[in-house]
Amino acid sequence: MSKIVNRSLAVALVAAGTVTAQRVMRLYEERNPAALGKDSAGEERWNAVTISAEHRLVVDGELPRPLQGLEDRIEVRYRAAPGDRGVELSARPRPGADSVQELRGEIRKALRESKQLIETGEILQSLPRPEGHRPATPTGAVVDLAERIGMKGGVL
């Protein structure tokens, strides 16, 4: 009998502790919006690249080719970079867009490709490599995963 009571007590204590810890954490996050690396701007955050180009991009009116496929789902902003150092090209999901996380990845890739296209006239291709495709070792599989994310990931 006492065993059952002790176990019930332990479960109740753990549950109460968990709930308390969650509430404390929530309170902490409310008071410190950047806790755990959280971005307080959320979906309103612009992803941006600075392109070494004339600010005429704004008046041309047409989106760079890599962004054109996303046109219906994103907002785009151009502005002159400080110190006459090119133009800042920014994009973010339109409010209410579906699959925002995935769309952010598409935006990063499109911004990086737009910058390459405008600055160099081409998008650099890295595949196929001479060594071809080889079966991945366990650590190679991690590298493959990082490469699949590639231009869609990172801090941009």
Partner: protein, 389 residues
């Protein structure tokens, strides 16, 4: 074609792989004629750069002959004998326009990896892990060189292959350490590491007007090259206190510029070497900053420390207090090849910069695993193996 591939930690093999193809209009295909092992390859080999994949072709310091060019290549032609910069640079972005070519915005197709490690991605580098693009390296019969107009340089007549190969990486890296470290006429410069890059940094310091240049290492053959061929003075750190020696040699002041050309696998006679080794092997730090620490402690107040050695991530017991309280300037960079290579080739042509002595072991590409073994263990007085495909 034959190529040297990374097959796992401390495993290299020579295998048959496909020949590279032109994939972009600004590409060239180069037939490799000399390709040198670099000290930074040893970090790949030992598994300290964690984004290698079995099968990757390594090598990034090389010369060759252009055998094919893309439709947008205008400055190079088939038949040109060229030295190639290891880091890929587009020539058009903010960083390339400032001469900071290894920081190019447009040549790493995997920016997510370095951005996670360092907060931003430098340019891609040939044969140097997937963090820097996964580009196939130069230890092969042929290599694809993107943005060929920016990263290849015609070798002047009279400069031999054996001299020119070090204009790819060792010489521009060493020159960059002296240049961006701020070496001025009359300075005293100390260089940690008497390998190829350290010797080139010492020679650059002399050519930039330094009055005394002191090279620190533990290998007698390398120190002898630094004194006899480069024209520097030498300290063997296993025989004396480097800090005490430098203080005495500089009248109690310390060197004006300290250049670290060792990197993440540094050795030392001091007890902190054991501490760093244990922490690195337990992966509690990614590099052993023994030489960087010593350079910071040795440098005069208000002086400059330049980190040329490759580091991948985090290090422990970094003397930030000394940097701040002594008013030091601390800089580092991967090599900005196109900024220096044309000038260095001219100096090589005039005989001001000699490098042939660095290639202590010239051998066929088939023997590369043996060459790396000699290089890693510093056997047979190996300074650099150079492979001929």
């Amino acid at each position: 074609m034959k190529a040297v591939v990374w097959s796992g930690v401390n495993k290299l093999s020579v295998e048959n792989v496909d020949e590279p193809k032109i994939l972009n209009a600004r590409d060239a295909i180069v037939k490799v004629t000399r390709t040198a092992a670099c000290g930074s390859d040893l970090h790949l080999l030992a598994g300290y750069i964690p984004t290698m994949r079995a099968g990757d072709v390594i090598g990034h310091e090389f010369i060759g002959e252009i055998v094919e060019v893309g439709s947008a290549v205008t400055e190079r032609k088939v038949g040109d004998r060229v030295v190639v910069a290891p880091f890929l640079s587009c020539g058009n972005c903010f960083y390339c326009e400032r001469g900071e070519f290894s920081l190019c915005d447009n040549t790493d197709p995997n920016p997510d990896i370095p951005e996670a490690l360092w907060g931003a991605a430098p340019g891609g580098c040939l044969g140097y892990s997937h963090a820097l693009g996964g580009w196939a390296g130069s230890h092969a019969e042929y290599i694809r060189v993107p943005h060929a107009d920016v990263g290849t340089f015609v070798i002047p007549d009279g400069v031999t292959d054996d001299r020119a190969v070090f204009a790819s990486d060792a010489a521009p890296t060493g020159w960059m350490g002296a240049d961006l470290g701020g070496v001025k006429p009359g300075d005293v410069v100390a260089v940690w590491g008497a390998g190829a890059v350290g010797q080139m940094a010492a020679r650059a310091s002399i050519l930039l007007g330094a009055e005394r240049v002191i090279v620190i290492d533990r290998f007698a053959n390398r120190l002898k090259q630094a004194t006899d061929i480069i024209g520097a003075e030498a300290i063997d750190y296993t025989q004396t206190s480097v800090l005490a020696e430098l203080r005495e040699m500089t009248g109690g002041r310390g060197p004006d510029v300290c250049i670290e050309a060792v990197g993440m696998e540094a050795h030392s006679a001091r007890p902190d070497f054991g501490y760093d080794m244990v922490k690195q092997q337990l992966r509690m730090q990614t590099g052993r900053p023994t030489a960087v620490r010593e350079a910071i402690m040795a440098c005069r107040k208000g002086g400059s420390v330049f980190v040329l050695g490759v580091f991948g991530g985090f290090v422990d017991k970094f003397p930030l207090g000394a940097v701040m309280n002594k008013g030091l300037t601390l800089r580092g960079a991967q090599v900005h090849g196109p900024r220096y290579i044309p000038m260095l080739l001219e100096r090589m042509q005039r005989g001001e910069l000699v490098t042939e002595h660095l290639a202590t072991h010239v051998m066929p590409l088939d023997k590369a695993p043996r060459g790396y073994d000699l290089f890693k263990n510093k056997n047979e007085d190996c300074v650099r193996p150079v492979f001929i495909p």
